[in-house]
């Protein structure tokens, strides 16, 4: 099992975190929703596994390519 970093594609604000640490995830499951330029942008799991770390909180600002969560791939 490898640790996989989940990164953002765009700058924005964390609107809602929909998964929690320890959750099992399938590839493309939504982990959180960013708000950027009025768009709600889902951040999806790049692989299936277990969510081991969430590195941001709701209302945080995030930059492009920032690591916002870590998954232990299955």
């Amino acid at each position: 099992m490898a640790k996989v970093e989940v990164r953002t594609d765009v700058t924005g604000n964390v609107w809602k975190i929909t998964a929690k640490t320890g959750d099992p995830l399938n590839e493309e499951d939504v982990i959180m929703i960013l708000e950027s330029m009025k768009m709600e942008i889902p951040i999806e799991a790049p692989c299936s596994g277990r969510l081991v770390e969430i590195l941001v909180s709701e209302e945080d600002s995030v930059d492009e390519d920032q690591v916002i969560a870590v998954i232990e791939s299955s």
Partner: protein
């Protein structure tokens, strides 16, 4: 109410019964009369731009105020309004320095722990761009609409809600086109045609429309293009350079592609400015020849025409009503909400102007 819901990317929208919340103190319930089906909606269907799902698309609409929240004083029931995705908070740095379209404040949407504006039973239906106009009712922040005069036809007014403001605004506000200058617009969809029309209003001396569809180039002439180039030849840049004898003062990319963005840059004269309006898919990189910067070429983005929509949109309404802004030919068909998928399919072919949903049909 009935709404067209996107549940899965690359699948048709589904017409469903959706529930809508009551207006919070600063919210307004709007009954849309007309809603344009825009190419930007298609980006979210195809997944070129990600979106939280399920959602109700649609972001280009005009309608009548149905109900207002307790703190709303700007509009009242019965007012005619255009909605706009550039909802502004009014007190952040961007708003206070006149860049309202860049406002990022989350306060124009409901917070994550509040009940959603749109829902179906226990399921949240995500509001698209704080609007979601493919629905019989819209619940929006009071800073996401502008009052307009009542003699403005609603279908034309809807276009001002996005494509017109994006194209004309890019010319007026982002690029600030000077009278007599040379302009090229790449892409003659709704936004590109609006940019051409805007360049004509601004007094540009030469306006070159570039597209691969002859019918769109004909339409470009009808809204102000002085020259047209069918890019199918594969040498649009060369043809622009020859026509202008050295390049354009301003170019506008209104498609959203790497190749056409790079062409917009290559078409510039020394000191010229390229403005990218099109939505380039997330993750795409654009390449520019670095030495060109020595010639003071500039490139910039434009989001929703760098608008101040509460000032701009009533002016655009006046432009239409006094014959300067040509909106009639932008509408190819009036449709019902249930025909929205047909309208999205038509956008994929690039052959037609806009379909506009009429809710009173």
């Amino acid at each position: 109410m009935k709404a067209a819901v996107l549940r899965e990317q690359n699948k048709p929208l589904e017409i469903e019964e959706v529930e809508i919340s009551k207006p919070a103190p600063r919210e307004v319930l709007v009954r849309p009369i007309a809603a344009g089906v825009c190419h930007s909606d298609l980006h979210f269907v195809t997944g070129d731009y990600p979106s939280a799902l399920p959602t109700i698309l649609g972001h280009e609409s005009a309608g009548i105020v149905e109900e207002v929240g307790s703190d709303v004083t700007y509009v009242k029931k019965g007012d005619h309004v255009i909605t706009c995705l550039s909802a502004f908070c009014g007190h952040c740095d961007k708003c206070l320095t006149g860049h309202l379209s860049l406002c990022q404040s989350p306060e124009v949407s409901r917070e994550a722990e509040e009940s959603p504006r749109l829902y179906r039973g226990d399921e949240t239906i995500h509001q698209f761009l704080n609007l979601s106009s493919f629905a019989e009712l819209m619940l929006i922040h009071e800073h996401a609409l502008v009052k307009i005069r009542e003699d403005m036809p609603m279908d034309r007014a809807a276009l001002i809600g996005c494509s017109t403001t994006t194209g004309v605004g890019a010319v007026f506000h982002t690029a600030r086109v000077e009278p007599g200058s040379k302009v090229a617009v790449i892409g003659c969809g709704g936004v590109g045609l609006a940019a051409i029309n805007g360049a004509a209003i601004a007094g540009a001396g030469m306006i070159i429309a570039v597209d691969m569809v002859d019918a769109k180039l004909e339409m470009a002439k009808s809204v102000g293009a002085t020259h047209t180039i069918n890019a199918s030849s594969g040498n649009a840049v060369g043809e622009v350079m020859e026509l202008t004898q050295g390049g354009c003062d301003y170019t506008f990319e209104a498609i959203g592609l790497k190749a056409t963005t790079e062409q917009a840059w290559q078409m510039l004269a020394h000191g010229g400015a390229a403005t990218v309006i099109g939505m380039i898919p997330v993750g795409t990189m654009v390449e520019l020849h670095g030495v060109d910067f020595l010639f003071e070429k500039k490139i910039q983005g434009s989001n929703m025409g760098s608008n101040r929509f509460r000032v701009d949109m009533p002016r655009f309404v006046d432009f239409y009503l006094n014959g300067k802004l040509h909106l009639d030919q932008m509408i190819s068909k009036h449709i019902k909400l249930s025909d929205v998928n047909e309208a999205l399919d038509a956008l994929k072919t690039g052959q037609e102007a806009r379909h506009v949903i009429m809710f009173d049909q």
